[in-house]
């Protein structure tokens, strides 16, 4: 028995250090100092969480500003943020499927179909439905596409790569059918209220005062919730981050919010007045909030991670793999549909060119998710990664465009970033597995 006691004693002695490369520091640390030491240890060993993407965002921002002083102007920043929202939403759609360890190549074309469909449904000379009905029906149809794909993948266990590739082509054809002979549809007739409503999704803005009030409400509610939860857990002896870290998180949320609202509230027009937070910012935050709630706080979300980590473990635990996988594909398609509505509202007029755009966007969505820190092999990632990665993609596109780089070079650059992110994903995963193999 002696060896065990020695072992236990050694482990107990180790505990006082409260620092371990393999365990996220917020779990072990009792104080801010321990947290920072643990965090630094993990950064040094290559597992650094969102650090690389945050450093990347700052680095890209500084570089483009040095190359072109217009990059950080309020007008460009708001444009950049608005354009990035489409990448962000599409990346969040993809993350639901990536977490399973699957891939969805159809989110781009589902986005395209949704954009065409929502416009067609409000045409005054055509179907002429109210805007809300158009949105609802469009999203329902997207859900249907997701459900069929999900069924193929989950029931027949076909490779998602093939199923979603096939459906990309099917959806592409359907998009052309919906688009009709004119090969053009748009929200150009803004004297009709339904077209105007859809146009405003991307182009509408809150007044500056409303922006500040909404920010204050969000920060106070989120901050109070975070603080109360962590304090309660600390008091009852559960695993909780040190108080300093909770405070730092709340401050970070507040600071990011203030920066965004302040920049949006500056008059960014060269002539006249354009100011205020665009509607799409709260729309994206709502998608983020709902998907984070689903993934982190519900049984469904827990099962998504379990399936991504180990399908046999999930099956033995009684998880319904078929239903969980199918729901993920449905959610991905619905969120891609939301991205399509944003896209339609942004582009105003949609032609058959949307097919090429959609094919590029699916790769950008995967790139954004991976750049943000979601693993291609499943089980690891959060929807916030879609926001961070989407911002990186948006910055690259916007910055290179400002520099008047040819679009094919922009594609080359984005592909390079995706490749880099995938390499980081593979290398960090390999590091993790060899780590655990050494231990077991």
């Amino acid at each position: 028995m002696a060896p065990i006691e020695n072992d236990a004693a050694a482990e107990a002695a180790d505990l006082t250090a409260a620092v371990d490369v393999e365990i996220p520091p917020e779990i072990l640390a009792q104080t801010m100092g321990q947290y920072l030491r643990g965090w630094w240890l993990r950064v040094k060993s290559g597992d650094s969480g969102v650090l690389p993407v945050v450093v990347g965002i700052v680095g890209i921002g500084v570089a483009f500003q040095l190359l072109n002083h217009r990059f950080l102007e309020p007008l460009n920043l708001v444009n950049l943020l608005s354009q990035s929202t489409v990448y962000m939403v599409l990346a969040m759609a993809e993350i639901f499927v990536l977490l399973l360890g699957e891939i969805d190549l159809s989110v781009g074309l589902v986005m395209g179909l949704s954009a065409v469909l929502v416009c067609e449904l409000v045409q005054p000379g055509g179907v002429n439905w109210p805007w809300w009905a158009a949105i609802l029906v469009t999203l329902l149809l997207c859900a249907g596409v997701g459900a069929v794909q999900g069924t193929f993948v989950s029931r027949l266990r076909m490779p998602s790569l093939i199923v979603t590739l096939a459906f990309s082509l099917i959806v592409e054809g359907v998009t052309f059918i919906v688009l009709g002979n004119s090969l053009l549809v748009g929200l150009t007739e803004r004297r009709f209220s339904n077209e105007l409503a859809l146009y405003d999704v991307f182009n509408g803005r809150f007044s500056p005062l409303i922006g500040w009030i909404a920010l204050a409400v969000v920060v106070v509610v989120a901050g109070a919730w975070l603080w109360r939860r962590d304090t309660r857990r600390r008091r009852s002896g559960l695993v909780a981050p040190p108080a300093g870290l909770t405070a730092a998180k709340i401050l970070l949320i507040a600071a990011a919010g203030v920066v965004v609202v302040a920049v949006c509230n500056i008059n960014r027009a060269h002539v006249g007045v354009i100011e205020g937070v665009p509607y799409i910012i709260p729309i994206v935050l709502a998608v983020l909030g709902v998907s984070t709630l689903l993934l982190q706080r519900t049984r469904f979300g827990r099962y998504v991670y379990a399936i991504g980590g180990s399908p046999p473990a999930a099956r033995r635990a009684g998880v319904n793999l078929v239903a969980t996988r199918t729901v993920c594909f449905i959610l991905a398609a619905v969120i891609a549909g939301i991205a399509g509505i944003l896209f339609a509202s942004w582009q105003v007029s949609i032609s058959s060119n949307i097919i090429k755009t959609a094919n590029t966007y699916v790769l950008l969505a995967i790139a954004a998710a991976v750049i943000g820190g979601t693993s291609l092999s499943g089980g690891r990632g959060r929807t916030i990664h879609g926001i961070l990665g989407g911002l990186v993609i948006g910055m690259i596109y916007n910055g290179l465009y400002l520099l008047q780089v040819q679009s094919w070079w922009i594609d080359v650059a984005t592909g390079g970033v995706l490749l880099t992110a995938a390499v980081v994903d593979v290398v960090s995963r390999r590091g993790a597995t060899t780590g655990s193999m050494v231990r077991s």
Binding site: D14, S310, A317, G379, R439
Partner: protein, 274 residues
């Protein structure tokens, strides 16, 4: 190895007392292959039963029949004396039968609490009740004296082999289970880790659970088992108190299905053939 008096305080060995789980005449075939021939097995409460057998002897199939993964073609399973049909893992769980499989069935990316509650999460207002799950998991682990993990919130990927096995066992006994089946619990573990897991097995027995340890490793079997059962080519060739077995006779039962000696002290099972 086993001192004769150490039967257990639960007193399942008192003669005439019904074993918690009793299997009679279990047959199972897959296509043309007969995997089990009329297998009888008793798992008394408060005792560790060691199930030995060579590769292909039918240990896993038998385990899966109890766990509800396979249904026997013939034969009857009795739980506390009444006949039961275990058609799914859920049926088994409802009876309090839990299985810890060799590959552990833990999700590496989830933490200890999440793994222990996987599939049976507690909810509060339809959302996961993390606080209550964390408390219950911590209680179970400390009750089993699994104290070497750094934090109950660390991902399972960061645990050592013995710690993983301990978590898998703790997960199994968390649900007021009465019967725990451990499939090769010490495979691929070092000396210290093996000892840790065997200690844990003893603690389960002391809590009055019926424990079955399936193992190739006779050292482990002789160290923890109160009773030994030997399968050979789908037949139960010997079963009885561990004191009736020695290493040599057990190896012979495992390899040839019988002993060279005329009558071993172990009770040879009545192989009523298939």
């Amino acid at each position: 190895m086993t001192e004769p008096g150490r039967t257990s305080h639960v007193g399942a060995m008192v003669s005439g007392m019904e074993p918690l789980l009793r299997l009679r005449g279990i047959d199972k075939h897959f296509g043309a292959v007969q995997a089990l021939y009329g297998v009888d097995l008793d798992l008394p409460a408060g005792q560790v039963t060691g199930l030995c057998g060579d590769n292909g002897a039918g240990k896993s199939v038998l385990t899966r029949c109890i766990a509800g993964v396979h249904q026997p073609d013939h034969g009857q399973i009795y739980f506390e004396g009444r006949p039961v049909h275990i058609r799914s893992a859920r049926d088994a769980a409802e009876l309090g039968i839990e299985t810890v499989y060799q590959d552990l069935a833990l999700a590496d990316n989830l933490d200890i609490v999440q793994n222990m509650f996987l599939g049976r999460e507690r909810l509060r207002r339809r959302l996961l009740d993390e606080d209550s799950m964390e408390r219950a998991a911590a209680e179970t682990l400390s009750g089993l004296r699994v104290t070497t993990v750094r934090s109950i919130r660390q991902p399972v990927a960061s645990l050592s082999g013995g710690q993983r096995q301990s978590v898998a066992v703790a997960k199994a006994v968390m649900w007021n289970s009465r019967v725990v089946l451990l499939d090769e619990p010490t495979a691929a573990l070092g000396v210290v880790q093996t000892r840790m897991v065997l200690d844990l097995v003893r603690r389960l027995r002391d809590r009055g659970l019926a424990v079955m340890v399936i193992s190739h490793n006779l050292n482990d079997i002789f160290e923890v088992a109160d009773r030994i059962a030997v399968l050979h080519l789908g037949r139960m060739v010997a079963q009885g108190p561990a004191s009736g077995f020695d290493r040599q006779s057990t190896v012979e039962y495992m390899t040839t299905g019988g002993t060279g000696r005329p009558e071993g002290r172990a009770v040879p099972a009545t192989g009523e053939a298939g």
